[in-house]
Subunit: 253 residues, 2 copies
């Protein structure tokens, strides 16, 4: 059992905090710029909420910074304690950002998409670790194994590319779902009609290399269909351009 | 129980043929330009294989054309029988293409991605129907209900937009998975690391409107991360351009 302070109350902090608590760890404080946000998460985690970082408890095994990437450096600068174990949860930020603030630091990056609407099964979430020294290495490894069956050491460099891959396969994929929903709703149809298709497409990627199971007009080089779709999208130049560039990408592959 | 001739032996024909057989229908012939392909599917369906369309049996309740969209008209022209029930399975082709070849025609469009590598649970596949007359309407409705719990009447116009939505949420999504795999493999990493993320992203779309659960640097307008990703993709201008345009799309939404 570790004693943890969570700096942040967003999607990652919320999901991580709940998973840590469920695994028997003790979250002793949650910090958020907005006290109400800190309080909301603190209520779930049964701990203290703070919005003044100077009130942070000195008595934790680790301080997990899970704030917007933009805000991380600012928070580190404001953090009043010395030589504590500092961890961040950001895919795209180097471990080195922590160096000026402690001798004990590391990265604890859960590679998953988190939202407050849906709780995630943490056992299946890959957690990517990096640490400044053995002490932090042991602590993060123990923490990660208590949450997940998938614990991986990865360098800051590898993590950046992992984050890019995550953006493509999650954020951008979700945007395409949203585009599809827009097309359907504009024509009096519902996303329900293509939900089985969304599910099957993901299921297929669980078992196969996506390149090898590509389907649709572009991979068949069925230009009659591709062109008829482009024509139908004439009224929305951006969606049309997206259709054209993705079709071209598929044909090149 | 209906007697069916399948014109085509590709992904849709194979999956549809197997589902029809499983539901108690009798596939009496499979046609393919290449006899070996027809034979392979015919073996599974326990029926005759032909590659000469003039050998098509006159004794079927319906002839399902499930060939490349490009090849459909050509096949219809070569089809030697008059006034049979002709159905096509193409999302983007109007019902009218069938009109010159019979008084009895319709569309039987299973909205799913089919590949030979993975069998699909047809009970969950939306089947979109359109018909020239009541006789075909009744036949296709009966056939569709014997396969799936999701049977929908849709006009050719609606079907076109459905097909576009399907291309975005399946074919284009799968392409993004492939791009992600490329980024990972180029950096000594495996798609396995992001498979849970792919699954979760699809799961979330089952329950929510995608727009409302968008995550990632673009929707947070975290330009520091967006720009650092663009920089890392400098060596691949096409992937970089795709990243830029998808991020812009998310920010605009």
């Amino acid at each position: 059992m570790k004693r943890i302070v969570l700096i942040g109350s967003g999607n990652v902090a919320s999901n991580l905090g709940k998973a840590l608590k469920k695994s028997g760890h003790h979250i002793i404080q949650v910090w958020s710029k907005t006290l109400a946000n800190a309080q909301e998460l603190a209520n779930t985690l049964d701990c203290e909420a703070i919005s003044d970082i100077n009130k942070v408890s000195a008595d934790a095994d680790a301080y997990i910074f899970s704030v917007k990437d933009d805000a991380l450096l600012e928070m580190l600068k404001a953090f009043p304690l010395k030589d504590k174990v500092l961890l961040h949860t950001a895919g795209s930020i180097s471990i080195d950002v922590l160096k000026p603030f402690s001798a004990y630091y590391g990265v604890f990056y859960p590679l998953q998409t988190f939202s407050k609407q849906k709780e995630v099964d943490f056992r299946e979430v890959p957690i990517l670790l990096e640490s400044s020294c053995d002490k932090v290495g042991e602590l993060t490894t123990e923490l990660a194994h208590s949450l997940s069956t998938k614990v991986i050491q990865a360098s800051s460099e590898q993590r950046k590319y992992l984050h890019i891959a995550a953006v493509f396969s999650c954020n951008f994929v979700n945007h395409l779902y949203a585009v599809a929903e827009g097309v359907l709703v504009d024509n009096g149809l519902s996303l329900d009609l293509i939900r089985p298709l969304i599910q099957e497409t993901a299921d297929k990627a669980m078992l196969h290399s996506p390149k090898e199971v590509q389907t649709g007009p572009a991979v068949r080089r069925d230009m009659k269909i591709v062109n008829s779709h482009l024509e139908l999208l004439d009224s929305d130049p951006e969606i049309k351009a997206l259709y054209a560039s993705l079709s071209e990408g598929i044909m090149k592959q």
